[in-house]
């Protein structure tokens, strides 16, 4: 199988798996206990905290472990606005955020908060001046994702962070798709909080982290035994934390090499598919995008059919078509960049990873052409210009 859905999840690196296994068996201690078994677990956890911090240029004490990106987003957003509810009730976000942010904001809207959803341009970019214009004297939080999960667009986070800082407003970014894929530096990006997830960077599922800049105070949204500075109580998942740490260490070591490899594959895939198929288009920005992200749309065909045919050729990919979603609604991101429903139905996302090869890409280019031709031949919406 050729796996090209790394934005959905990625395989656990064998080295990561190896690092985790002792903590399921002989190293099973509770990291809060005082005897050696517990102290060893605690030490492994603190090593992981250093590894995570190092990847994003933070201090280890600025990292808390969570169950993943969604929980990190919830703790950051709700924790900030609950803490500051006497100061204001206004949140600024974008209209292409992950549901972990969008749905949290919608929930808060039902509970007395006001949210401005800043639009993006046709290529999926947030304009910092739009964020600045949306600021009111009631604004307590700005939350804008670093890189988009569907179209891979990378936002000008440092500029938005600068604006937030000038206005004394907290700034959170969901960096689930970017950490380990492109350089992420919390200091130069001017962020107060940053969410990341392990399983997007070859770590295990069910574990993530939230960076909280020194001095930023959050209201806990989960209550319990005081773990993770009281913000994420519950006995720590030590094997998963160790795995996340190891995955961060490997990503940091390989970042330049991975980026170069992925960009080369991505550009070949984009250029060849656009050249070989008529009425094929790239969704998102051509260069301001994640090194491994490709998102096409093809006139006259529907995404689920495309995915199923590619699957039968051994390629795993995804689509923003409504027909493949639980809610039967087209991708909100594709609608936000101005596509029509029928265009969103014909979308195909291929997200490349470290283990993909040039042969994989060559095979995929050929397979896409065959599938697109097959589906167009039976589509009442397709009249080839060539015929």
């Amino acid at each position: 199988m050729i796996y090209m859905d790394h934005s959905a999840t990625s395989p656990v690196d064998p080295e990561v798996f190896e690092a985790m296994t002792p903590y399921f068996t002989e190293g099973f201690g509770n990291a809060s206990t005082l005897y050696k078994l517990g102290r060893d677990a605690k030490m492994a956890m603190e090593t992981a905290r250093k590894q995570v911090a190092s990847l994003i240029n933070a201090e280890p004490k600025e990292i808390i472990f969570t169950s993943g990106g969604t929980e990190s987003d919830n703790i950051a957003i709700k924790g900030t606005v609950y803490r500051l509810k006497n100061k204001g009730n206004h949140i600024i976000t974008s209209n292409i955020e992950h549901p972990a942010v969008t749905e949290t904001c919608k929930y808060l809207e039902k509970n007395g908060f006001e949210v401005t959803y800043v639009p993006v341009d046709k290529e999926g970019l947030v304009h910092p001046e739009d964020v600045e214009k949306a600021i009111t004297d009631k604004t307590v939080l700005i939350t804008i994702m670093h890189a988009n999960n569907e179209i891979g667009t990378i936002q000008p986070i440092a500029e938005i962070g600068k604006i937030a800082r000038e206005h004394g407003i907290y700034f959170h970014t969901d960096a689930v798709q970017s950490v380990g894929k492109i350089p992420v530096d919390v200091k130069s990006m001017n962020v107060d909080m940053l969410s990341l997830s392990s399983h997007k960077l070859y770590g295990p599922k069910g574990i993530g982290a939230l960076y909280i800049k020194k001095g930023v105070r959050l209201e806990p949204i989960i209550h319990g035994g005081g773990h993770e500075r009281g913000l994420r109580p519950g006995t720590e998942n030590v094997p998963a934390i160790v795995g996340l740490g190891k995955a961060c260490e490997i990503s940091e070591k390989n970042l330049d090499k991975d980026m170069e490899h992925l960009k080369k594959l991505r550009d070949k895939l984009i250029d060849s598919v656009l050249e070989q198929n008529e009425e094929a288009y790239l969704n998102g920005h051509r260069t301001q995008r994640l090194p491994g992200n490709v998102n096409f749309r093809f006139t006259g065909i529907e995404g689920e059919s495309l995915i199923l045919h590619l699957d039968s050729k051994g390629i795993a990919a995804s689509t923003g078509s409504a027909c493949s979603s639980i809610k039967l609604e087209p991708s909100a991101v594709l609608m936000a960049i101005g596509l029509k429903e029928v265009e969103a139905h014909g979308s195909l996302r291929l997200s490349l990873g470290r283990e993909n090869t040039e042969e994989d890409v060559d095979y995929t280019i050929k397979a896409i052409k065959e599938v697109v031709d097959t589906l167009r031949k039976m589509s009442p919406l397709w009249c080839s210009k060539g015929e």
Binding site: E302, S305, H345, S379, P380
Partner: protein
Amino acid sequence: MYTEKVMDHFQNPRNVGEIPDADGVGTEGNPVCGDLMTIYIKVKDNIITDIKFKTFGCGAAIATSSMITEMAVGKTIEEALKITRNDVADELDGLPPIKMHCSNLAADALKTAIEDYKKKQAEKEKSN
């Protein structure tokens, strides 16, 4: 999520294409919703002798289109009109519940094609 039969009809759809001199043509669906299908029929002595389809849509939309062409060919107009959405889904060993409403349009498209045939017949008789 799809049965083997759905996947078979999706991967190897039967009777894809158009009939240029069709006796009846029926289109159902809406590309905005993601499904659009057109069914073409040839009728001789009240029997559907040839049937072809073109479909834009998901796996279920393509499989139901293909399946109904097999179910309808050789049937009289009256028999073909009795084919329901559920019959098509049953012949495919079932469809996911979410697809029953939006993508199971083949029975409707066949009905529309037959109505189109009947209308054309009535017009022919009138002009005679």
